[in-house]
């Protein structure tokens, strides 16, 4: 637990603009941290490369994307960290051997539509929910 004075300082730190001499701003995290931080990566699933042009009419493929990276303290450097992820990080810091860090996972998923032939040459147009990762975050 922390005293009221320190809590007040923290609150000020999070709400007031910071200059270069006080506390870590976004520029203070080195570039390797930024590279390993939880974020969305593009991944294109190509139906064409899977050799399915004869039965999938459209699309040729879709940008499925995926989430990867570390969810490490401070979480406000990451996109879309849940409140629980912050608690999870704190518990991980206290007991790193037994408690894992929060997961880097999708926070926004979108649907795609696929148009394809079935065995009887009938055509199916189907909406598939949660196929495309639009945003990632720490859970």
């Amino acid at each position: 637990s922390t005293g009221g004075k320190r809590r007040q300082q923290n609150r000020n730190r999070s709400t007031q603009p910071q200059d270069g001499s006080r506390g870590p701003g976004p520029a203070d995290y080195n570039s390797s941290d930024q590279k390993t931080a939880c974020r969305r990566h593009e991944l294109y699933v190509s139906f064409r490369e899977l050799g399915w042009q004869d039965w999938i009419i459209a699309p040729e493929g879709y940008a499925a994307n995926y989430c990867d990276g570390e969810c490490s303290f401070p979480l406000n450097a990451h996109m879309n960290a849940t409140n629980h992820a912050i608690v999870q990080t704190l518990v991980h810091l206290m007991n790193p051997e037994n408690v894992p860090k929060p997961c880097c996972a999708p926070t926004k998923l979108h649907a795609i539509s696929v148009l394809y032939f079935d065995d009887n040459s009938n055509v199916i147009l189907k909406k598939y929910k949660n196929m495309v990762v639009r945003a990632c975050g720490c859970h």
């Binding site: 974020r39 990566h41 593009e42 991944l43 899977l50 009419i57 493929g61 055509v123 147009l125 909406k127």
Partner: protein, 266 residues
């Protein structure tokens, strides 16, 4: 697939294996993607009737409507309908289909399976049969709307100023020695000079066929002139199997998922 970074500098993430897949890995990948798509195996369609006949074209039209909707949510449905009307001649999908589409989880078109047309019955009545295979609908899908679609061309001078009465029936029972028992679904008066797609609501019939495939004995149509003379559907300008591929009759059904699809554990 391919992997590249968001900032476009082709930087490959260190944790990501970037290489060509081996044959067995590709097969595994195909299996996994098929699982995501909810398919037990890779479909092997017989595309002898032409890959782009009327049903696939109609479905592609619907797909493009959905895709443009996903790209631009701000565009109004009516605007899309108007643009569809101006860019295609004649239009396949109508405003009604677009409305059905918004409510549907799955749309499926069915090709006509009848190999021959019985143009003249023993009772000298012209009629044409249509059959569609609805036996392979995934479980948990309920029909919300279904249409039977026929293309009508402008007919020759003999009937130029005439009107026709087109009747669409559901075949209820077949008999070896006499005509089938029929249930009238719709009768519609058409101008001989009329041209374009005709849509008939067969939602109730389709529901019956999905729930009880043994009752799927198909549809019949018959055409009469204004004087009551039975004529063939061809004479009335209705395109059949010998007509243009993009004007072939077909049926389309709109489905809503009534059960949650759970992939089985492997």
């Amino acid at each position: 697939g391919s992997n590249y970074s968001l900032d476009g500098n082709n930087e490959v993430h260190p944790g990501f294996i970037h290489r060509r897949l081996r044959t067995h890995e590709k097969r595994e990948m195909q299996k996994e993607i098929l699982s995501i798509l909810g398919l037990p195996h890779r479909p092997r369609p017989h595309l002898s009737h032409g890959k782009y006949n009327s049903a696939p074209l109609f479905m592609l039209d619907l797909y493009n409507t959905i895709s443009s909707e996903e790209k631009s949510q701000v565009e109004g449905m009516l605007d899309r309908y108007q643009s569809m009307r101006t860019t295609q001649s004649p239009p396949l999908a109508t405003y009604q289909e677009t409305a059905f589409l918004n409510d549907a989880d799955m749309v499926m078109s069915f090709v006509n399976l009848v190999e021959y047309d019985r143009e003249l019955s023993p009772q000298r009545r012209h009629h044409k049969e249509f059959k569609f295979n609805l036996s392979q609908i995934p479980e948990g899908e309920a029909v919300t709307a279904a249409e039977f679609r026929l293309y009508k061309e402008c007919v020759s001078r003999a009937f130029r100023n005439d009107t026709f009465l087109l009747k669409v029936y559901q075949v209820v029972k077949e008999h070896p020695d006499r005509e089938a028992d029929l249930f009238l679904l719709e009768s519609r008066r058409l101008w001989a000079a009329e041209e374009g797609w005709l849509e008939f609501d067969i939602t109730a019939t389709s529901n019956l066929w999905v729930m009880s495939p043994v009752h799927n004995l198909g549809l019949q149509i018959s055409v009469e002139t204004s004087s009551g003379q039975s004529i063939s559907s061809k004479e009335a300008g209705l395109v059949g199997r010998d007509g243009a591929l993009e004007k072939q009759p077909f049926m389309v059904a709109f489905f809503k998922v009534s059960e949650v699809h759970i992939r089985s554990a492997r």
